[in-house]
Homo-oligomer: 267 residues x 2
DNA sequence: GGATGTGAAGTCGTTCACAGCG
DNA sequence: CGCTGTGAACGACTTCACATCC
């Protein structure tokens, strides 16, 4: 995915699996909640339940960090909060810029989850001159002409892109050129970046499409036998997804998985 | 396994790996762009580049759907758009409700990427009476008292939760009880749902935390040798992550991965 | 010739089950 | 005894490399 992790010959124990890293924030959240309730210790079983994973996975994950538990007892909540925070780099604070202050950008600017985790919104940047100077979530929007200056002056290394897809790559290039090395991309485009820069993407419509896939399968499960016949019907009533959609099929035979219908997307 | 099309086994709609399903929307997006430029065919190499994956993976992914390419030529763009759309269930339209019309909910309501993919925002729901009737993105907000009625009348099976974390589980329970079987959760909580209900979560702060992890590691890579000493320094200047962070670690020796420092969270 | 489709090999991640320790 | 920490089995996904077919 995003700039596949370097296949470093894994120096010593510095090889925490990606999958584990992705779950650390989850554990941290659960632990923080426990901490607020002044719970002193948790077992892997309890914590796993709170984080929504199974306990074997959790123990394995923690084993990559070190031996932070006590056999027969469990984990010290405060201590673990600190260790995970440190591992994630949250013990320092990260200035972040958000580029593209539309609906989504504005929502992100006001999102409380950032500040509470050591992320500080250092600047909001938008290309629209009409936005310049206007405060969003208490922070004045700056014009994108000043992007490079803002990045370097604040020592920003993390950028959030919430622009339209069409300009996302340019914005990305400028961010990278100015020194940003981690990007969170909300624009529905594939960004290409040089080695050493990490990109993570969040695509709202992709998530819905994945849900739709499973949803469709559920519907078909009740009528297993009818599935075969249904395939033909569905194709015939296809509404079309892309821009222009007008059925029409040339005579070639296409072979699907099995009883598939050879219909084609029209021009 | 049998070559080409089998009759009964494997290749039904079943058996498509999750990882593949998650990439189908990516391919679809790239294909749609090609379609708009009236490109008739693509090779796996070209399409893979456009989607940001490697070509072997793409071909393997497509092989789960069927044999939709032509050797020596590539894939028919229009045909593939249709096949993937159908596989994802996008040839039908999915009414969606968004619950929690704050900053984020409002941004989602206005997000163009939904409508363009066969998702229709059937209703916006919020618990605040002051919001009721007010139009957001052209759709009037309805009060959450009517949640059940809205779901059942519109036959909604997909719900988006954009409420504060505190009420997300209750909202989820009501959605499920009313018939929703797929949920996209933006609230930073683990939702528990009965079997048969799918939940996908999008957590903005988690993504940033993952980036921070890698960012921190990049910084440490340049000064490999200093890493050891740095751990102590970092700990000393830890700003504190949770709410109440009162460490107070007992004097026991804790062993980290390697030369870990047993320092503790400062007050 | 040229690109697909796919076994086989390789890598990564999860789960099991139990030894080890408090 | 209870719970962590972990080798080993297992399973899922990725990559390789090439036979296959247009």
């Amino acid at each position: 995915m995003a700039t596949g992790r370097t296949h470093r010959p894994a120096t010593r124990s510095r090889g925490i699996p990606e999958a584990t890293v992705a779950r650390l924030p989850l554990y941290l959240r659960a632990l923080t909640a426990l901490s607020e309730r002044s719970v002193p210790t948790v077992s892997s079983e309890e914590l796993a339940a709170a984080a929504g994973v199974n306990s074997a996975k959790l123990r394995k994950d923690f084993s990559y960090l070190g031996s932070y538990g006590t056999r027969g007892v469990g984990y010290d909540v405060e201590y673990l909060v600190y260790q995970i925070s440190r591992e994630l780099g949250l013990t320092q604070d990260w200035p972040v810029v958000i580029v593209g202050i539309g609906n989504l950008g504005a929502a992100l600017a006001g999102y409380g989850g950032f500040a509470s985790r050591g992320f500080r919104v250092a600047a909001l940047i938008d290309a629209d001159p009409a936005m310049t100077g206007r405060p969003v979530a208490g922070i004045p929007v700056q014009h994108s002409d000043d992007l490079e200056k803002i990045i370097s002056e604040d020592g920003v290394s993390i950028g959030v892109i919430a622009t339209p897809a069409g300009v996302a790559q340019q914005v990305c290039d400028r961010l990278v050129a100015a020194g940003v090395t981690s990007i969170l991309n909300f624009a529905p485009t594939v960004l290409s970046v040089p080695d050493g820069v990490d990109v993570r993407k969040v695509d709202l419509s992709i998530e819905l499409q994945i849900l739709a896939f499973h949803e469709q399968r559920k519907a078909g499960e009740e009528a297993e036998a009818e599935a075969e016949a249904a395939a033909g019907v569905v194709a015939a009533s296809a509404p079309g997804v892309g821009a222009a959609a007008t059925p029409g099929r040339k005579g070639t035979d296409r072979k699907g998985p099995d009883g598939d219908v050879p219909a084609v997307m029209p021009a």
